[in-house]
């Protein structure tokens, strides 16, 4: 069985979803699965320009990541397929359901994250969704229990979540932060140009996710930039409260 066929089977994909490519990253023990939703043009798949990337439940010892675009015509039911996720999230519905399931049988949140190999940034994002009550099957009682177990502090993670207004500020303000790393300078310039022209809210969210992912990936090299973001957050919040 080829790797594409195997991933199609393991993810229980149904048409129009299909696997276009699979990459196993042995060094980081990750498997990246790229999905298409069957849109084709004279037999050739169109290149997806804006893709989401969701952490999914692990495949064996490898963390699994799904890369896909959500076509606008998908029904609400289709959008809930386990290998997909919300545009605003970096985790799949399947992973979220596993987290909720584990919590409901009495495991602590820390144990769940260890079991499912969820890093601190993703843990914070899932925890935020749980406390907001946006995960299916997770009621108020679960959110309350989690809060009692371990109250969430705003500064618990150094890189804010995608919904934090500071990201919009960085992508729209004239000179929001001083940046030293070449790749971040180029990424920000490109993202700021694109952001002005993006019309849909989903597209803007994807752009914010991309910037945030850069900060998560290079967290240790970006201490000065992350400190500036913390200062900006205070300023942005003050501005919003006035």
């Amino acid at each position: 069985m080829k790797d594409v066929e195997m991933c199609r089977y393991l993810l229980a994909l149904q048409p129009p979803w299909d696997v276009s490519r699979v990459r196993v990253d042995a060094q980081s023990r990750e498997v990246h699965v790229y999905l298409t939703s069957g849109r084709s043009w004279f037999g050739r798949y169109l290149a997806d320009t804006t893709q989401s990337r969701w952490r999914h439940t692990s495949l064996g010892a490898c963390k699994a990541y799904i890369h896909a675009s959500l076509p606008e015509q998908l029904s609400a039911q289709e959008r809930q397929l386990p290998f997909l996720g919300d545009v605003s999230n970096e985790f799949s519905h399947g992973l979220a359901r596993r987290v909720v399931g584990c919590l409901q049988v009495g495991m602590s949140y820390r144990q769940v994250c260890e079991l499912l190999d969820i890093d601190v940034h993703l843990a914070w994002q899932i925890r935020h969704a749980l406390s907001e009550g946006t995960l299916p099957g997770a009621g108020r009682d679960l959110a309350k229990r989690l809060h009692e177990e371990h109250p969430v502090a705003r500064d618990e993670v150094t890189i804010p979540g995608s919904s934090d207004p500071v990201w919009r500020h960085i992508l729209t303000a004239r000179e929001p932060i001083q940046v030293r790393m070449l790749s971040l300078r180029l990424l920000l310039t490109r993202a700021r140009q694109d952001f002005r022209q993006l019309r849909g809210e989903d597209a803007r969210t994807l752009k914010i996710n991309e910037i945030r992912r850069f900060f998560v990936k290079h967290e240790k090299q970006l201490a000065e930039e992350i400190a500036q973001i913390a200062e900006l957050r205070d300023g942005v919040e003050e501005g919003l409260s006035q």
Binding site: V179, L184, L186
Partner: protein
């Protein structure tokens, strides 16, 4: 900053030894030299111009080898259809080195569209554009070579994807000595390697006519500011009668450019401009136009060694820039 000892200009026999050891290599040299090398896990591109330890030189009996500190990588070829997936093949933590042939469609595809590729800027990517001896530009094609088979290509790119173990991380640096001059801002209505119409300080104009009217020196590039990074676009030719200007890299729609201030004493200023970093040098290259305009023949460029190239890649295609990659501990 220190360089791996195997990132050096060497004889064909020395390079044979490295290839036969099974190492992953990127090799720059004249095609006659590259064709003499045995098959192995290496990729190459054509250029006879080098920044050697002893200074800038043009050799047709030597090749420049980057050995990546003995780390194993995967060589992959790309055509225009597969190139947009370049970074999907790149490791989550590692480094990708790319070589593209000058004057090819695959270079044009990369130059115009790379900023929109999936994972662009998120994974370290550097590279260079291959070329030929300047007096043979019209007669010979620039090539890349797949060392696994010995095949050469005029219209394919080739890359080596090199995974790195945590906490090591590759950091891409670009050094340009050019700064925007005091002239007007210039914007272009479309992305491309050619321009006629442009907007000069908000007024419609023609770039070739503007350059003629202001006696603009073609040696100095157009410069754009990318959040503090200076990005150059060099002038390849100006057809004043036809009102056309040809560039070595595309100008982008929506980006503001100015012509650069002239630069003197390039070698000394390059050395000053090299960032202070404790990392190990994994790769380096410098622009052939710097070699020519700054007269680097016989001049040392500090610890930065590597090929002189016909375009540099630090994520996107650059001109008149030195690019290098350091290996750091995150």
């Amino acid at each position: 900053m220190t360089a791996f000892p195997e990132a050096v200009l060497m004889t064909i026999d020395q390079a044979r030894g490295w290839i036969d050891s099974g190492a992953t290599l990127a090799i720059a040299g004249d095609m006659a030299c590259l064709r003499q090398l045995p098959k192995g896990n290496w990729m190459g591109g054509t250029t006879p111009y080098f920044m050697a330890e002893g200074g800038g030189t043009c050799r047709d009996d030597r090749v420049f080898v980057h050995g990546f500190g003995g780390r194993a990588g995967r060589v992959v070829r790309y055509d225009c259809q597969s190139l947009p997936h370049l970074l999907e093949d790149a490791p989550e933590n590692g480094f990708t080195l790319l070589i593209l042939p000058a004057g090819s469609q695959v270079l044009e595809e990369y130059a115009c569209h790379a900023p929109g590729y999936v994972d662009m800027y998120l994974k370290p990517l550097a590279g260079w554009v291959s070329g030929v001896r300047l007096e043979r530009v019209e007669r010979e094609p620039a090539l890349v070579i797949d060392g696994r088979s010995g095949e050469t290509f005029e219209n394919q790119a080739i890359a080596v994807h090199l995974p790195l173990p945590s906490p090591l991380t590759a950091t891409v640096h670009a050094v340009s000595l050019f700064a925007p001059g005091d002239g007007p801002t210039i914007e272009f209505p479309a992305t491309g390697f050619n321009a006629s119409d442009c907007v000069v300080d908000g007024r419609a104009g023609n770039l070739a006519a503007f350059m003629a009217a202001h006696s603009v020196d073609q040696r100095w590039p157009l410069v754009a500011d990318y959040c503090g990074a200076t990005i150059n676009v060099s002038i390849q030719s100006v057809d004043t009668g036809g009102g056309q200007v040809r560039f070595f890299a595309p100008v982008y729609q929506g980006v503001r450019y100015r012509f650069a201030r002239p630069v003197s004493d390039y070698p000394a200023r390059l050395q000053q401009a090299m960032p202070a970093t404790s990392g190990t040098l994994l790769f380096g290259c410098n622009c052939i136009l710097n070699y020519l305009y700054s007269e680097l023949q016989g001049q040392r460029t500090g610890e930065l060694t590597g090929p002189f190239t016909f375009g540099e890649v630090a994520y996107q295609l650059l001109n008149q820039t030195a690019v290098f990659v350091t290996l750091d501990e995150a």
